[in-house]
Amino acid sequence: MLQLEGVTKRFGGLTALDGVGFAVTPGSITALIGPNGAGKSTLLDCLFGVCRVDTGSIRLGEHELTMLPTHAIVRLGLARTFQNLRLAPHETVLDNVLAGLVTRTPFSFTAAILRLPAARHAERACRLAALEALDRLGLAAKARWPAGVLSFGDKKRLELARALVAAPRVLVLDEPVAGLNRAETETVEAELVRLRRAGRTVLLVEHDMDMVMRLADHVVVLDGGRRIAVGTPAEVQRNPLVLEAYLGQMEVVA
């Protein structure tokens, strides 16, 4: 589905990504992990065309993404959440989710201003989809609240709702449970399990190792801009390079 090959990104003298390659298989949850500064965020920025890769290729299905502008990449079927919240605080919760459905219709000012029938019907269908997504994440009762007054946990789930409502081919989640309490984490996890059962594809960037081990089908480990390991959670957990990256170099005692 999503295929990265030899992705390299330099910022001046710093090589943030050094020939990173991996594949996200359809219908699976692939976790991307690594210590702080490993290049996870840079990789997501490159994936979405927020910054340009220097060399390498990123393919979604048969489309090459590296030369496309962000909005065109998103229209091919990617959606993401952000590590630090990026919501429109003064708009309602429902309107924020509807913003996740921009890709459902062509971005036409004429159709919008004249309120052409096609645009009107699409909007009605989208409203239902948005309410359904809010309902699944337990936010339906707050649909008319301004997004800014929600608790941190609700805001995180609102971002998740906004990303998954458009049913993207690959859903990219940047630390979806960071800072959540246990109950909130459980609703997010339940939603991820449900998505996988529905055959959806997820790329998960996460620090919560327990959750990665429980949910992920494949794990990709980055460190210092390189891919140091890839495999099932159990394989990765035993990999000495991974242990070293996370815990520092260990002397073997006894």
Binding site: H71, V74, L98, F109
Partner: protein, 336 residues
Amino acid sequence: MDGLTRSRWLHFFWSHRLGLGVLAAAGAVLLFPWYTDNPYTLGLTNRIALMSVAVVGLNLFMGCTGQISLGHAAFMAVGAYISGILTVHAGWSPWLALVVAVAAAAGFSLAIGVPLLRLSGHALAMATLACNVVVHHVLLQEDRWTGGPSGLAGIPPLTAAGWAVDDPVRLHFFLWFVVLVVMFGGLNLVRSLPGRGLMVLAADEVCAACLGVPVARAKVVLWTLSAVLAAVAGSLFAHTYGFVSPDSFGIFVSTDLAIMVVLGGMGSVWGSVLGAAVIVLLPEFSELAEAYKEFVHGGLLVAMLLVAPQGMIRGIRQAVALAWWRAQQGRSDAAA
């Protein structure tokens, strides 16, 4: 009325609130001349209508991109002067002149917008201000066509089906009809799916792009749309008063337009009309507001940003919601 009927009515009103709002506004416009046909009062409300057309446009640009323009009076000037020159010097029909003037403003805004919109924030505000200064200067200097500082007189009114739109009552109906059409288009845009993306664009360009908003194109389209509406307002201004002078389109008119946007609320179409009304009517309540116009308008802007940065419409709505919520709390406390 039983509970079910009541909730059905509430649902009807809520789901059709926009159409009903525009209908109510149209009714008010229709009946207003029966309430008063005082030419002075109608002169004021017609001026509000003229400004509203430009302010709705500017508000779509400022509210959806989060950028500030301090140069939209330049587009009003282009609309007004091209309309004036074509009718006075070339003897064109006012309608044709209006269409050509608006098309010229669209081309002009596109030509300066494509390079300018690479700027943002204060740099863009300054660049638009500079454009306004340049246009103002050209109007002063090219006196062979524009009449220079003494202005251009004798611009004919628009005519519809043999009726000249020249007395206050006819102008009232015509101008407010234009305002309603513009408002309806603006409201449609704001609540469309692209509009939901644009409201994100105002706060966060990266996030908007990641939601599928073509950021660069959206900015240019909104800029041109706002310039077109400013030019329509300018052209209507010329045909309404029959006279234009450079000082009607100076930089302080531009700043007034931006202040009207902020008073009404960025991104609020209804607020645009309210903001225009406040600034136009202010001198009616106090001599001071006219004599120290720049100070008063500037002070008003600062006060608004401190008290209710979201603008009057949203500020009032939030205050009402808060009061309602407090009342509900009080009731449930009393019950407990």
